[in-house]
C-alpha cells in the first residue's frame, strides 16, 4: 500500500495522459455528478455530495474538500465501453453489387476511468461476460476494454439507495482495477491510500509522488470502508432469490408494480449491467449508402419483443417482470451470477421511485 | 380596352395559403382582393386561462416561420406587465436569437421564395439547375442561421429554451465560439447576396408609403423601442391599440389594419423596408456600406427592392450576432425571478416581416385573462392590395400570364405569412380555395 497526498493526485492524471489515456471521471453537471472528461482534479466534484432516495437525487455541499465524497450518479461507465449509439457496419451499393464495410477497431479510444466504484467494477465484469466470454466476441467492446485503465475508489460513504453489500459487490474494490484509492480526510490531512492491482498500475504509480502507507493509514482506510458497509440504505435478501422469482411469475405483485411503472425505460438505461441494444438502418437520399447503427434499447419498449403480429410482452406487467427476473434470476442461468450489483441507480432514477428491493421483498413475503 | 380577371387560387412560395382575385373593366382595376384563407386557429381564445409562462410556447405555434418573434413579443409583453426588465447578457442572448431568426427567414425568402421571381423560375429548386452554387449559398446561410437558433433555442422551429424572464439554460462562452466562425462566413455570404440581388431587374415602382417600425435610441430595432413612422407617428407601445384600427373585410380570413387619424382606406407598411427607411442610421457601418454599394440610399420606396433590403438586414444580423458573441459573458442565472401580479402588458417586436404586437391581461394567479395579437402580415394586407392596384393599373398592357407573375412577385415583396395573419380571424364559410390540381 502506498499513500498519495491530495496535491500529488494531479500527477496521476498527468501520468495517465502521458501514456495516451483519456481520463474520464465524475464531474458536476446540471445538478448531478456525471462522468465526463477530466482535465485536472479540479474538474472532480470537489466538496460535493449527493443525497438519494427512490426517485430523488439532490446535490449537496459537503463541509470539506473531498473529491469522492458521494456515491454513484445517473451515468455509468458503460457509456464509454458500450456507447449509447455506435455504427456497426456500412454498406455501399454499386450497381447490383453491395459492398460491406466493417468498422475499424484499431483506433478505439484509450480511456482511464477515475473513481470507479466496487459495484461498477462488478458491473464491468458482468458486461465482460456478455460481450467477451461467450462464443461470440464484441470486437468494439473488446478493444475499448483492452485499452482501459481503471483507478477505482473505495466508497467512503453509502447512499440511501445502495445495497452492494447484499449483492456482494462492494463497497471495497477487490479486483478488476489498476489502482484503487481510499480517500481519507482526517485530522486536517487529505490523502489517498493506494492499492496496486496490476503491473501497469504499479508502473504508473511510480510516476506519481507517493510514499509507503503507514499502518495507521491503512487501518484508517479499512475503517472507512467498513463503516460504509454498515451504512447501506437498502438491503436485498438474495438467498433463494432465483427460485423465488421462478416460482412467482404469476404473483399479483406484478400487477401492483405495473400500475406504477411508466415503462419509460430509465431503470435499464441507468443500470450499469443492462446491455440490450437495438439496431437501426440508416440510409441517405442517394440510395447508395446504408449504415447499421446499434443503440441502447430497453426491455420496457413494445418493439423490444415485437415479432410479426404483435409484441410478445404487450403488458407493462410482463415487461417489468422480464426486467426484474432477468436481473435477479435468469441472469444466474445465463452468466453464472446475479445481474444486479446493488448500486441503486434504478431506484433513484426511476421517475416514480419504484424500488426493486421492495418489490422483491413483497414477493418474498407473500409468494410461493 | 379589355376586361381581365387575374385569379390565383393558391399562392405559391408564401407561408400559408392565400389567393388573389383582381378584376379589371375597360382597363381599369375594379377590385383587388387578397384572400388569406388559412383556417383560423383561435389562439386568443385558447390562451385564456393558461399560465403566463405558457405563452411563449403556445404563441410560437402560430407561425413556424417566425416562432422566435412570437416568443419575443410574448415574453416582453408579459415582462412589461410584471415590471421585469431583462438586461445584460440575457438581453443580448435574446437579440442574438432574433438575429438567427431574421437571418433564417430572410435567407429563406430571398433565396427560396423571392429570387426565382426575378430570374424567371418556378422555384428555387428549378433555379438550382442553372444556379446551383447560388442556391447552395442560400441554403448554407439558412443552415448557419438555424444552427444559431438551435444552439440558443434547442431547435430551429418552436424553440424550447425561451421563457419569461430569460432562458431555461444559457450557453457558455465556449459554446458560442464555433458559431462565430460560421457567422463570419455567413456575413461574407450575405454581402455576396446583396451584390447578387442588386443586379436583379427591378420594375420602376416608387411609391409614397407610411412606413411603420420600432425605433430604438441606439440600436437597429429588435425587441424594444417606440413605434414611429415617416409621417409623424411616435408612440409608446401601450398606445398601439388606440392607434391601430383593425377592420374585417368580407373576403379574407385576416383583418386589415390602418392607423387612426389617417384617411379611410390608407394603408401603412411594416417590415424590412419600413425598418430600413426609419432606422438606416442604426445599421452597422458594414450593412450601410453594403446598401450603398447596392445602389440604395438611406431611403428606398420601391417595394420590389425589398429583396435588397432583406439582404442588407442579413448582413446586419450577422454583424450584430458577431458583435454580441464577442461581448458575451454567461450570466449568473439563466432567468430572472418572475412574480406574477394582476396586470396588463403589451409589447411589439420586429418579426422578420414587421412589427408583431402582443398584449396580455393577467390575473393575480398568473393566468392569462385576455390576449391580443396583431401580426405583421395582417397589417400589410391592405398595403399589398394598394400596391397591386397601382401596379396592375400601370401595367395593363402586360399579358395576363406576365401580369399574374408580376402580381405574385409584388405580393412576395412583403414576404406575407398567412399562417400568422389568420391565426385568429373569422372564417368565411365557403371561402376555401381550391388547391388541388388533379
Amino acid at each position: 500500500m502506498k499513500v498519495i497526498d491530495r496535491p500529488a493526485l494531479d500527477q496521476l492524471l498527468t501520468a495517465l495522459r502521458r501514456r495516451g489515456y483519456r481520463p474520464v471521471g465524475p464531474t458536476v453537471r446540471d445538478g448531478a455528478i456525471i462522468y465526463d472528461e477530466i482535465r485536472t482534479t479540479a474538474d472532480l466534484p470537489v466538496g460535493w455530495t449527493d443525497e438519494q432516495e427512490a426517485g430523488v437525487y439532490r446535490l449537496k455541499r459537503r463541509d470539506d474538500q473531498a473529491l469522492f465524497g458521494y456515491v454513484v450518479g445517473p451515468h455509468s461507465w458503460k457509456r464509454f465501453l458500450h456507447p449509447p449509439a455506435r455504427r456497426l457496419w456500412q454498406a455501399e451499393r454499386e450497381g447490383s453489387a453491395v459492398r460491406f464495410i466493417s468498422e475499424e477497431e484499431k483506433d478505439a479510444p484509450k480511456f482511464a476511468f477515475i473513481g470507479a466504484r466496487a459495484c461498477e467494477l462488478h458491473a464491468m465484469a458482468m458486461q465482460d461476460k456478455v460481450f467477451l466470454e461467450g462464443a461470440h466476441v464484441d470486437a468494439s467492446y473488446q478493444s475499448r476494454r483492452k485499452n482501459l485503465f481503471i483507478v477505482a475508489v473505495n466508497c467512503g460513504q453509502a447512499g440511501n439507495t445502495c445495497f452492494c453489500v447484499s449483492m456482494q459487490a462492494g463497497p471495497k474494490a477487490t479486483a478488476g482495477f489498476d489502482l484503487a484509492l481510499t480517500e481519507v480526510l482526517e485530522g486536517g490531512r487529505h490523502y489517498f491510500v493506494v492499492e496496486e492491482g496490476s503491473a501497469e498500475g504499479s508502473a504508473l504509480l511510480r510516476e506519481v509522488e507517493s510514499r509507503p502507507a503507514e499502518g495507521a493509514e491503512t487501518e484508517t482506510a479499512d475503517r472507512i470502508v467498513a463503516k460504509t458497509a454498515d451504512q447501506m440504505g437498502r438491503t436485498m435478501e438474495t438467498a433463494g432469490l432465483k427460485e423465488l422469482l421462478y416460482q412467482n411469475y404469476e404473483h399479483p405483485r406484478w400487477d401492483d408494480v405495473a400500475a406504477r411503472c411508466l415503462t419509460c425505460g430509465n431503470c435499464t438505461m441507468v443500470c450499469p449491467t443492462c446491455f440490450c441494444t437495438t439496431v437501426e438502418e440508416v440510409t441517405d437520399l442517394s440510395g447508395e449508402h446504408a449504415e447499421r447503427w446499434q443503440k441502447w434499447d430497453s426491455c420496457f419498449t413494445i418493439d423490444f419483443s415485437y415479432i410479426h403480429g404483435g409484441s410478445v410482452r404487450p403488458s407493462p406487467k410482463a415487461r417489468y417482470r422480464q426486467w426484474l427476473t432477468h436481473k435477479l434470476a435468469t441472469w444466474h442461468d445465463q452468466f453464472g451470477s446475479s445481474g444486479c450489483v446493488g448500486c441503486g441507480r434504478c431506484i433513484t432514477w426511476c421517475p416514480v421511485g419504484i424500488d426493486l428491493t421492495e418489490e422483491v421483498k413483497a414477493i418474498k413475503d407473500s409468494g410461493k | 380596352m379589355t376586361d381581365k380577371t387575374i385569379k390565383i387560387d393558391a399562392l405559391a412560395r408564401v407561408e400559408g395559403e392565400g389567393a388573389l382575385y383582381i378584376t379589371m373593366k375597360d382597363d381599369r382595376v375594379e377590385k383587388v382582393q387578397l384572400k388569406l384563407y388559412d383556417p383560423p386557429r383561435l389562439f386568443e381564445s385558447l390562451l385564456r386561462g393558461r399560465q403566463f409562462s405558457e405563452a411563449p410556447d403556445i404563441t410560437s405555434r402560430i407561425c413556424g416561420i417566425c416562432p422566435v418573434a412570437y416568443q419575443m413579443s410574448a415574453v416582453h409583453a408579459i415582462e412589461r406587465a410584471f415590471g421585469v426588465q431583462v438586461t445584460g447578457p440575457l438581453r443580448a442572448l435574446r437579440r442574438l436569437l432574433y438575429c438567427g431568426e431574421w437571418l433564417e427567414s430572410h435567407a429563406l425568402h430571398v433565396y427560396l421564395l423571392h429570387a426565382p421571381d426575378f430570374l424567371g423560375y418556378e422555384s428555387a429548386i428549378d433555379m438550382a439547375k442553372d444556379h446551383r452554387e447560388t442556391v447552395e449559398r442560400g441554403l448554407q446561410l439558412k443552415k448557419t442561421a438555424n444552427a444559431l437558433i438551435t444552439l440558443l433555442g434547442g431547435r430551429a422551429i418552436h424553440p424550447i429554451n425561451v421563457r419569461v424572464g430569460g432562458f431555461y439554460r444559457v450557453p457558455s462562452k465556449e459554446e458560442l465560439k464555433p458559431l462565430a466562425e460560421r457567422l463570419r462566413w455567413a456575413r461574407d455570404a450575405a454581402l455576396e447576396t446583396v451584390r447578387w440581388v442588386a443586379a436583379f431587374p427591378f420594375p420602376d415602382f416608387e411609391q409614397e408609403y407610411e412606413f411603420v417600425s420600432l425605433r430604438h435610441p441606439e440600436e437597429y430595432p429588435f425587441n424594444e423601442g417606440r413605434l414611429v413612422s415617416n409621417r409623424g407617428l411616435d408612440i409608446d407601445i401601450d398606445a398601439f391599440e388606440e392607434t391601430v384600427i383593425e377592420e374585417q373585410v368580407p373576403y379574407s380570413n385576416a383583418l386589415h389594419a390602418r392607423l387612426r387619424g389617417r384617411q379611410d382606406g390608407d394603408a401603412y407598411f411594416v417590415g424590412p423596408l419600413a425598418r430600413y427607411n426609419l432606422n438606416f442610421d442604426r445599421l452597422s457601418p458594414l450593412a450601410q456600406e453594403a446598401a450603398r454599394s447596392a445602389g440604395l440610399s438611406s431611403t428606398c420606396r420601391n417595394p420590389f427592392r425589398s429583396i435588397i433590403v432583406r439582404s442588407v438586414e442579413m448582413v446586419y444580423a450577422c454583424d450584430e450576432a458577431l458583435r454580441l458573441i464577442a461581448g458575451y459573458e454567461a450570466p449568473p442565472v439563466p432567468a430572472l425571478d418572475v412574480r406574477p401580479r394582476e396586470a396588463t402588458g403589451a409589447a411589439c417586436t420586429e418579426a422578420p416581416r414587421g412589427i408583431l404586437y402582443h398584449r396580455y391581461r393577467i390575473d393575480a394567479d398568473g393566468l392569462i385573462r385576455e390576449a391580443a395579437i396583431v401580426p405583421p402580415t395582417s397589417q400589410n394586407q391592405r398595403m399589398i392590395e394598394t400596391d397591386l392596384r397601382r401596379f396592375v393599373q400601370q401595367h395593363v398592357r402586360l399579358s395576363k400570364e406576365a401580369l399574374t407573375r408580376r402580381c405574385e412577385q409584388a405580393i412576395r415583396n412583403y414576404d406575407p405569412c398567412i399562417s400568422c395573419a389568420t391565426h385568429f380571424l373569422t372564417l368565411q364559410i365557403g371561402s376555401g380555395g381550391e388547391t388541388i390540381t388533379a
Binding site: 430509465n266 441517405d284 | 413556424g64 372564417l427
Partner: protein, 262 residues
C-alpha cells in the same frame, strides 16, 4: 435500385403553422439531393409549379377544422399512394384542438363579433379521423431528421424507424440529467413519444409533451408523481392540454383532473 421515374412528392397544408413543412426546407444539406430522388410535384410553399397527381408520397400538415378541408383531404387521399401525416396538428388535431369539447360558441364569442361565422369550426381533428393514413410522424414540430428518415424509408420501401417509446430513453442516451429526479421539475418525458432527442431536459426544463403520448403511457402514475412535486390538478389539466390535447391518453388524463377539480 432500378432507376424508375422519380416518385412524386406532394406536400399539403391544412390548419397549421407551416412549421412542419418548413422542416423540409430546413433540410439544407439534403434538399437538393432530395430533388434528385423525388419529383417535388406539389409543394406550394416552395414552388409555383404544380404537377398533376397521382402522387407517390403525400406529406400532410395540419388538422381538419372546416368542411371544405374535410372534403379536400379526401381528394388528397384519392390522389396519394402513400399518405403520411406530419406533426401534432395532423396527427392529433394540434393546439387548435383545445376547442374540442368546449361549447364552441362561447369559446369563440369571447373574441369574435360574429360567432355565427365560425359555427363550422367546432372541432379540429387529426387527418386519420377522416381518411386512412399510412404513417404518422409525431412532433410539434416534427424533427427534420425523422422527416428525412420517413422519406428515405419510403424510398427504400421500409417502415420508418421512429421509435414510439418514451422521451426518457433518448434523455438517458444523450446523457442528460433527469430534471424530475435531480431537480424536482415536473417532466412529461416518461409518457411522451420519443423523437426530439430529449431536447427540453437537455435545456434544463421538463418535457411538455409536444410529441404526444408514447406507446404505453401511464399518465395516471406520472400525475401522481407530479402531485408529490406540488403540482395541482389545474396545472395537470393544462400540462396534458397542449399541443396534443386531443390525443387519447392525454385527453383522458386531463379530463380526469378536470373531474377531480369539480
Amino acid at each position: 435500385m432500378a432507376r424508375a421515374p422519380k416518385p412524386k412528392l406532394a406536400v399539403w397544408k391544412f390548419a397549421s403553422c407551416d412549421g412542419c413543412q418548413l422542416s423540409l426546407l430546413d433540410c439544407e444539406d439534403e434538399l437538393l439531393a432530395l430533388t434528385g430522388r423525388v419529383e417535388i410535384a406539389h409543394f406550394l410553399e416552395a414552388s409555383r409549379a404544380v404537377v398533376k397527381g397521382p402522387y407517390d408520397l403525400s406529406l400532410v400538415e395540419g388538422s381538419i377544422s372546416t368542411p371544405e378541408d374535410a372534403e379536400r383531404i379526401r381528394r388528397v387521399r384519392r390522389l396519394s399512394k402513400h399518405l403520411v401525416t406530419i406533426g401534432a396538428c395532423a396527427t392529433a388535431g394540434g393546439i387548435q384542438a383545445l376547442r374540442n369539447g368546449k361549447e364552441i360558441k362561447e369559446f369563440v364569442s369571447i373574441v369574435y363579433a360574429t360567432p355565427d361565422y365560425i359555427s363550422t369550426l367546432a372541432t379540429s381533428t387529426p387527418i386519420a379521423a377522416h381518411v386512412k393514413v399510412d404513417f404518422e410522424l409525431r412532433g410539434c414540430p416534427i424533427d427534420k431528421r425523422q422527416l428525412l428518415e420517413v422519406i428515405t424509408a419510403f424510398l427504400h420501401g421500409r417502415h420508418p424507424q421512429t421509435p414510439s417509446h418514451s422521451v426518457c430513453m433518448e434523455c438517458k442516451r444523450r446523457g442528460a440529467v433527469c430534471v424530475m429526479v435531480a431537480k424536482g421539475t415536473p417532466c412529461l418525458g416518461p409518457v411522451t413519444h420519443a423523437g426530439c432527442g430529449a431536447l427540453c431536459p437537455a435545456y434544463a426544463r421538463g418535457c411538455y409533451g409536444c410529441f404526444g403520448p408514447m406507446e404505453t403511457p401511464n399518465t395516471a402514475s406520472l400525475s401522481e408523481q407530479w402531485e408529490k412535486l406540488d403540482v395541482t390538478d389545474d396545472e395537470l389539466v393544462r400540462a396534458f392540454r397542449s399541443f396534443n390535447a386531443s390525443a387519447d391518453a392525454f385527453r383522458v388524463e386531463s379530463e380526469r383532473h378536470v373531474r377531480r377539480q369539480a
